[in-house]
Symmetry: C2
């Protein structure tokens, strides 16, 4: 698979088209699975890892027609391409930095991704735009069934699916939604929401997963416990709370619009003005400004931009994407100059409402 | 005189047309004079103050043809109009806030201003664009002569001209230049320059005179000592040092252009972008951004703007000017909104180079 073909495409989950897309960027289901009869990846010998990779690559090959999957040998990729896949959320940072035979299979619209020889032998992921946990779960369940027709999973009657890390044992399911919550941040309610989520055993993380700072007011909310709960329990918990947060966020936005409209409009307009003018932009500040622009688009304060375009910009201003678009490796200041040039070009047509 | 006619005019000193206008905004000569036979303003009775005002108003009236002066009774002005004259540097803040009969006479191009019953009975001021101390001194000397044909100044053979504050005794002369020194600020050399100036008995103050913080990298440099020196001595001291500072500033700008061009361009472009986008702007941040824009115009990094227009904007975004342009009194947030609207409209035509 030629990664360059992905550079200018928009993964399904970035379309900004799903339900509640003003607040929920994407829904994600991840299943952790391991093959019976093999040690976990971290304990496997090079030969065992190679065998696991071979079996699962083969399985993926058989699903080419039914699931439209294509295989990418991650161990053979340049670091830039690895980084590129991380930015697209198709592989994890850990998988990019791993060692030995490993890969990922994805479909054309980047809805499905199957990491092979990550922490677990197999990590199945479904990503969808907007609040779509149910649909994503159905997709994941179906894909899981397809895979299981060809391999035998490590499964215990007592514990459920066995995984490398005990936190994933049981269903192996992690369900998460990526939310954009600038309103709750602005009205100072975000910490209150987090405390409530913690009490429900839900985890909140930043834009790029575990251990990353929440940047651009993006928060990934997911289940913490997989053991002793059914898949339905896990999904039900999230589905009970996420729509509430969506409503809180919308109420916060409305309140700001009513009470502080000029200040909000100013902040958004300045973000647009800076993105359209700057000659150097770091990745971090771009995310902050784009966050304001995304809010502006949702509230009708910015014209000539769609959520899809903003979502796409979040992706394409990341270092690896930028370098692939530009056609060569770029360091420090050069990257910030190219990023600013790219943003000016992409945003020249829009206007503040 | 109708102040409203001044709102859209540009005082001579703002033309940005004089020598070294890239660094020196304006040159200013001020002479402190008092009438013989009257106590200083702070010691005068209401009747005496009224008499001084009457005599000097009369004198100014006689100079209508020769010096083109028009008289404004400051005590009869609304606070907004007083503030307006302060912003145009035609009267001092102290004069605006003073009590009792007092006035100012100015000419059509705002080059000459004569404050009556300020700290001294008469304060003559000449303002010129760019580095023009010699010409400004000649104008002031001439105007001083014209006034002296009609009144008798308080003068001592031993001390020279007598003034209310001992720091002005002698020549009564304060010569100053308003310099724009963003380059020296950026390369971190500005404090070194100030220390050198202090050793030469020169004073450095901010944009709006005594006690004000230097905002927008504008610095007013003037002589400290008036006693025991001739007018020529005072002017010679300033004329020796100012061109050196001009050269330092230009060297700093060149060095930044060579070593940090991208960063400089970015800073200037963002300033333009923010001024053209913001929906609310305080006076202070406007000055900071306009300072960057002024530098950009001088260095050819901003197109479609002249130094004159930027100089004028520094003036028209001040609170009183803004309210006169808008046609009504404005408070807090409203003023910041009107200021941002005004800036967007005025800057819509320019582009980053």
């Amino acid at each position: 698979m030629n990664l360059d073909s992905l550079v200018h495409s928009t993964g399904e989950w970035l379309k900004g088209a799903g339900p509640d897309a003003d607040v929920v960027v994407s829904s994600r289901i991840r299943l952790a699975r391991n093959l019976a009869g093999f040690p976990f990846t971290s304990r496997a010998s090079p030969a065992q890892k190679a065998e696991v990779e071979s079996i699962l690559r083969d399985t993926v090959g058989r699903l080419r027609d039914s699931a439209g999957l294509q295989y990418i040998a991650v161990h053979a990729l340049e670091p830039l391409d690895c980084q590129f896949l991380v930015e697209r959320q198709l592989i994890s940072r850990e998988h990019a930095q791993g060692r030995g035979p490993r890969g990922v299979a994805i479909d054309a619209d980047e809805r499905q991704s199957l990491m092979i020889n990550e922490e677990d032998h197999l990590r199945l992921q479904i990503l969808r735009s907007g609040l779509c946990l149910e649909e994503a779960w159905n997709d994941a369940d179906h894909l899981d069934d397809l895979v299981e027709q060809h391999v035998t999973y490590a499964f215990s009657e007592e514990f459920g699916y066995l995984t490398a890390c005990p936190t994933n044992v049981g269903t192996g399911l992690r369900a998460s939604v990526m939310m954009h919550l600038p309103g709750l941040v602005m009205v100072g309610q975000i910490d209150k929401v987090f405390r409530a989520l913690q009490k429900l055993n839900l985890t909140v993380r930043g834009l790029y997963g575990e251990g990353t700072r929440a940047s651009g007011d993006f928060y990934q909310i997911s289940n913490q416990v997989t053991l002793g709960k059914s898949e339905d329990d896990i999904l039900r918990e999230l589905r009970a709370v996420i729509p509430e947060i969506v409503q809180y966020e919308r109420s916060a936005r409305t309140a700001i619009l009513e009470q502080k409209r000029d200040h909000l409009h100013d902040r958004i307009a300045r973000a647009v003005g800076t993105l359209r003018s700057a000659r150097m932009m770091t990745s971090e500040e771009t995310i902050e400004y784009l966050s304001a622009v995304r809010l502006g688009v949702c509230l009708g304060l910015v014209e000539g931009l769609t959520i899809q375009t903003v979502n796409q910009l979040f992706l394409t201003v990341q270092p690896a994407h930028l370098q692939k678009i530009h056609g060569r490796a770029l360091d420090g200041d050069d990257r910030n100059i190219v990023r600013a040039n790219y943003l000016r070009a992409r945003l020249s047509e829009i206007s503040n409402n």
